[in-house]
């Protein structure tokens, strides 16, 4: 069968034929490969490819899987045309950068105002969680388009703290 994948946001076509735990597959326009794959523990896969042994761990994500092997992490989604367009947009949507709270916390100080321009690495907002104050920095230079939180406010995980364009 043939699958449309998105690997770390980049579209790729996977052609795969399975016979028990043996696979014949071709990723994009690369050569066809032969591999053997066994799920040895739930979400843990042992893959033999050209005599090399790989152990990969899979976690479910939103509409995707996170695959970890040899210390590397890959986001892989199986896409259908409709979803593809949306996701590819997001994948290529590098024109804006949201600073997001990765866990619940309290806003201690807001260091920038909407409209200001910031340098990469410049402090944007100070959040306290788990008894530690963390200064969230801008990952890239740009203009602060939004700071939807106020000092003293408690935020939940996933809350957008600031947006840089």
């Amino acid at each position: 069968m043939t699958l449309d994948l998105r690997i770390d946001g980049v579209a790729a076509r996977l052609e795969v034929h399975r016979d028990g735990d043996r696979y014949r597959f071709r990723l994009g326009d690369r050569d066809e490969r032969h591999a053997q794959l066994v799920e040895v523990e739930p979400g843990v896969y042992s893959v033999l490819l050209d005599g090399r042994s790989y152990e990969a761990r899979a976690e479910p994500g939103d509409d995707c899987a996170w695959i970890t092997l040899r210390g590397r992490r890959f986001q892989v989604a199986i896409t259908d045309p409709r979803r593809w367009t949306r996701n590819s947009a997001a994948a290529h949507g590098h024109d804006r950068d949201n600073i997001v709270a990765s866990m619940p916390g309290k806003i201690v100080r807001v260091l920038v105002n909407p409209g200001e321009t910031v340098q990469a690495g410049q402090g944007v907002i100070v959040v306290e969680a788990m008894k530690m104050q963390n200064e969230m920095k801008a990952r890239r230079a740009g203009r602060v388009s939004a700071v939807p939180v106020r000092e003293g406010e408690t935020v939940t995980a996933g809350t957008i703290l600031a947006t840089i364009e």
Binding site: R18, P42, A58, E59, F74, V76, P104
Partner: protein
């Protein structure tokens, strides 16, 4: 020896203490908050007492509740571990008042040494060099600025009651001082209930090297050599070594720093385990930094190299036994390294990453020691320090120990939450670390030069193959199988819901 001991702590250190208690045939009593009912230390202890809601201020920091629990369970002594009440003189005194043995130094010694300013006076009196700094908390930003100008920038703002880097800020000039003072004070207030902050001259690119002390209640004090703790992020140790590569190359330093540490301990009438921290500058001068009047997080590296069990020794000392060894009996063999494994996201400002551990593979084999407080399916609570485990290795040499640590990290997998395991993996391969050119700023420097992994078509192909096996796919051929695999993944989640 005691028949029953209560551990006034949680997580990996509670588990580590329970292990030695069991080996000594002493019954263990765990304490737990609402968030910790299913935690490993409760599962492993012989007895367990609930001490309140999840916030530590309402449970693990409540002196009266801890002491009531010890009384109710008939414990004769209390081990405070590190953090929480471990350096609280009031708690030590309360234990004594309740007829319980506090496994640590006297309340008086904690009082003398717990305050950084008082401890510095003590060190100076003992003829040990100290870093120039204020002798008391600064009234306000102005007084702090005044002193800073006097000794010259850069300076450090430090919490008087502080420890673990909390309430600490570097200031490079007048301009930053006010804001830094405000942040440090508020952080100190939150962390220690005391906003007092003082100023200290900053030594550039120093090493952090500390001496492990051991003293019995009969006036006998020895040291167990040093630990190199220069690998820090935001003033928090993340990786420690024994011996210090610098001291190993200059053994006379061990003798000088060890004797200085013992002098300070004697001057304070100190007993049980303790640690004297020093800063060492580029010319190998050492300056007294502070005292930790408790077992250190990083004690395993000293245990691996000396062959001693520090918790066992703490218990014997607390029971009034004399030290079983003299200074000349202390022998260092080989090299040990420890990594502090945190639930945090190195790719997102090292932000804490609490949550449920869906899958866990632990390293083992030759020379690997894991002190862990978690298990597969457990939830890492939001309320506490996100230390999951301490991974320590021993080998004949530092290079072999580093290689062994990399091997162990490769065997270590935590699925469901983010950890700093991969970060350590990179750090251990850093040339400057390998050359042992260490200083407390090395980790931050490394972060700025941290290598970006290159694309790997082979791994990408394997990832694609695994993903199609793992994800449910809408095709006739693979429906059942793929569906089943995805199910498996969801069953893991579903299963863990039962643990709530």
């Amino acid at each position: 020896m005691f028949r029953k001991v209560l551990i006034a702590n949680r997580g990996e250190i509670a588990v580590r203490i329970i292990r030695t208690l069991r080996e000594m045939g002493i019954a263990s009593v765990a304490v737990y908050s609402d968030a910790d009912r299913a935690s490993l230390h409760v599962r492993m202890a012989d007895e367990a007492a609930h001490v309140g809601p999840s916030p530590s201020s309402e449970s693990y920091l409540r002196i009266e509740r801890i002491i009531d629990a010890a009384r109710a369970h008939g414990a004769e002594a209390i081990h405070p571990g590190y953090g929480f009440l471990s350096e609280n003189a009031e708690f030590a005194a309360a234990c004594a008042a309740a007829g319980l043995v506090f496994i640590g130094p006297s309340a008086d010694a904690i009082g003398k040494m717990g305050s950084k300013t008082a401890a510095r006076d003590l060190a100076m009196a003992a003829g040990v060099p100290v870093v120039p700094g204020m002798h008391h908390g600064a009234r306000d930003a102005d007084e702090a600025r005044e002193f800073a100008r006097g000794c010259g920038y850069p300076v450090l703002l430090k919490a008087v009651a502080g420890g673990g880097g909390k309430g600490m800020r570097r200031v490079d000039g007048d301009a930053d001082l006010a804001a830094a003072f405000r942040d440090a004070a508020s952080e100190a207030e939150r962390a220690f209930g005391d906003a007092a902050v003082y100023v200290e001259k900053l030594i550039e690119r120093p090493r952090h090297i500390e001496i492990q002390l051991l003293g019995d209640r009969h006036g006998h004090v020895i040291h167990l050599g040093e630990r190199e703790c220069s690998m820090q992020r935001r003033h928090q140790k993340i990786m420690e070594e024994c011996p210090s590569p610098l001291v190993a190359a200059h053994p006379e330093m061990r003798r000088a720093m060890g004797e200085a540490a013992v002098r300070i301990a004697r001057a304070a009438g100190y007993y049980n385990a303790g640690t004297i921290e020093f800063l060492v500058d580029a010319r190998r001068n050492f300056f007294f930094l502070e005292v930790n009047t408790r077992l250190q997080v990083e004690h395993p590296v000293t245990e691996l190299v000396t062959g001693l069990d520090l918790v066992r020794l703490q218990l014997e000392i607390a029971a009034g036994e004399p030290l079983p060894l003299r200074q000349e009996d202390v022998e260092l063999r080989g090299a040990a390294i420890e990594c502090r494994v945190y639930a945090e996201d190195p790719d997102n400002h090292f932000f804490p990453s609490p949550g449920r551990i869906a899958h866990l593979d632990r390293p083992a084999g030759p020379g690997v020691r894991l002190d862990s407080g978690v298990y597969p399916g457990c939830t890492v609570p939001l309320e506490y320090d996100p230390l999951l485990a301490k991974l320590a290795v021993w080998a004949g040499s530092r290079a072999e120990a580093a290689a062994r640590m990399i091997r162990a990290l490769d065997e270590y997998h935590v699925v469901g939450i983010k950890t700093n395991l991969g970060f350590f993996r990179q750090l251990l391969e850093d040339d400057q670390f390998r050359r042992a050119e260490l200083h407390t700023g090395l980790v931050d420097e490394f972060l700025s030069r941290r290598p970006v992994p290159s694309d790997d078509a082979e791994l990408q192909a394997v990832a694609a193959l695994v993903a199609q096996a793992f994800l449910p796919v809408r095709t006739s051929i693979d429906k059942n199988r793929a569906g089943r695999n995805a199910w498996a993944a969801w069953r893991v989640a579903g299963r863990d819901d039962l643990l709530q």
